[in-house]
Each structure stands twice: as C-alpha cells, then as structure tokens.
C-alpha cells in the first residue's frame, strides 16, 4: 500500500518551492501545478499517520482531508508568518483539520447528558476505610475531601463543572467538549484554565498543598 501511495503521489520533496514562491503561486488565482503539488504533499503526510489510526481506507481519507485542508490553507494564506517552512505550516493545518474531524466522528453519537457521573463511586480515601487507621488522620483526610468538594461546588460555575467532568473524568477531547457545549476549543481551554486557577487560589487560601494531597490519593 505504501509503495502504491508513493507512486500515486510522487510529489517530490517538501522544499519544491521557497516560502515566497508558495505564497505567490497560491495567491488568487492559484497556480494549478502548485495546488497539485501541495495536495500531493498533504496526502502523503496525512496518509503516514492515518494508516496506523483508522481501520478503513486511509488513502481515501487522506485525499478528502487534504482537499478540505487546502480550502482552509488558501483562506488563511495571509496569516502565514514565515517563521517555518510553508509546507510545515500547511501540514499543521491539515493535521489539525483531520484529527478534529476524526475526533468529532468518534464522539458524534454521544450526548453530554448521557455522561452523568456515578455518585456511588464517590471517593473514600484508603485511610477512611481502614478501621485500624489513626482516627486523627481519618478526620484530617475527610476534611480535605470535603474542602475540595466545597471548592468545586462553591467556586466554579456550572459550565466549568460540566467541562471539568467531561475532560477530566470522561476523558473527552477538549475540542469535542467544546463543540458539544456550543463553544470552541480555545474558549474551552480558557474556561478550564480559569477553573483550575480558581481552585488553585482556594487551595492557597486554605493552606492546602496539592502535591501533599496527591500522595494520599
């Protein structure tokens, strides 16, 4: 398969044109030969990681994703800052487009309402379940748990709690969570970052040492 794809997409190396030439050739109306060369590079690059990631037709998927990526690349030519090779920048866009779409498809059928936490799994620190444990230690651990629960309940917004649960407990990718919550990836990262900072601030106020707390979990 790999030999076939190399034959089919014999587009030469990524340094076929200089950055300036790429920008000139792809500026409207785009040069067809440059477009074909770019498409071939993207297909070869996308195929390289898709082949180990998807079960069916990585060659067709690579073609489809490359086609979509080219539209985005042409649309964003003005944002290329020239700090890397043009082909590296273009491949970066194609890879993000492809992986975002694959993640979206993977989680497409799942509604965030289906992902409710099981309260029966509520955490009991080992010391609290151990009858022989030092009673003072048990009390101290229970207080820590209650403090963290209180911080989460009182300091975070409902939206932050939902986002944290989906990312940190359900292990959903951040871009999938963003889409399901009607947001975008960057805003979702910021929402969770603000939540982390709020929790960290409360830890500091209450004298909780997260590193020490981790050793008990």
């Amino acid at each position: 398969m790999f030999k076939w794809i190399k034959r089919k997409f014999k587009g030469g190396s990524s340094s076929h044109y200089t950055n300036e030439e790429w920008l000139q050739l792809l500026d409207e109306p785009a040069d067809q030969q440059a477009l074909d060369h770019l498409r071939n590079l993207l297909v070869r690059g996308l195929y390289a990681f898709l082949v180990g990631k998807v079960d069916q037709q990585p060659d067709q998927l690579a073609e489809d994703f490359a086609q979509d990526a080219i539209l985005k690349i042409l649309d964003h030519l003005h944002t290329f800052r020239g700090e890397s090779k043009f082909t590296t920048w273009a491949m970066k866009i194609a890879v993000r487009e492809a992986l975002t779409e694959l993640r979206r498809k993977r989680w497409d059928d799942i509604s965030i309402n289906d992902l409710k936490p099981d309260d029966n799994e509520r955490f009991v620190p080992p010391q609290m379940a151990d009858n022989k444990a030092d009673p003072e230690q048990v009390t101290s651990d229970r207080m820590l748990l209650e403090k963290v629960q209180h911080i989460v309940d009182e300091v975070l917004t409902e939206k932050q709690r939902t986002a944290i649960r989906l990312v940190m407990y359900e292990d959903l990718p951040i871009d999938v969570v963003a889409e399901k919550m009607g947001s975008n990836r960057n805003s979702m990262y910021k929402l969770i970052y603000d939540a982390r900072k709020k929790i960290k601030g409360e830890f500091e106020k209450q004298g909780l040492d997260p590193e020490e707390l981790l050793t008990k979990l």
């Binding site: 690059g45 890879v95 099981d118 951040i174 990836r185 997260p210 590193e211």
Partner: protein
Amino acid sequence: MKLNKKMLKNIVKAVTVTHDDELSCDECFKELDRFVEMKLEGKSPEEAMPLVKEHLKKCGSCQEEYKALLESLKAIA
C-alpha cells in the same frame, strides 16, 4: 457534581500544573510549526519554547496533533 476518586485525583493533579503563564490551544498552535521543525532538526524546542512544551503536556488534543504532525513531516521530508 459529587467527586469520585478519578475526578478528585485529576483535579488535584491539574492544580499542580496550573501556572499564571500558560498558552491557550490557539497560541500553542501558532508556535507548533516552529516547535516541530526544531524537533526534526535535532534541536531542543522544549528548552527554547517551554510554554509550548507545557501546553502539550496538559492538552491531549494538541499533543495528538503534535505527534501526528511529526509523523507527517517525516513522511514528506
């Protein structure tokens, strides 16, 4: 939302890696092409661009894209 073991642990872990200066996904994405090229040239982008390194450690989606980009660029080199 009642905390369970996994959530509590992940929240506390998240606190340990929370800093004032963090890159967002978009800011990381802007730097990623330069970061990857340095990696492919055998340089140490982790030292030169520590904020990108930190973001990649925290963000699974960006990390996945970084690894795929490395693989793709090796294939077209």
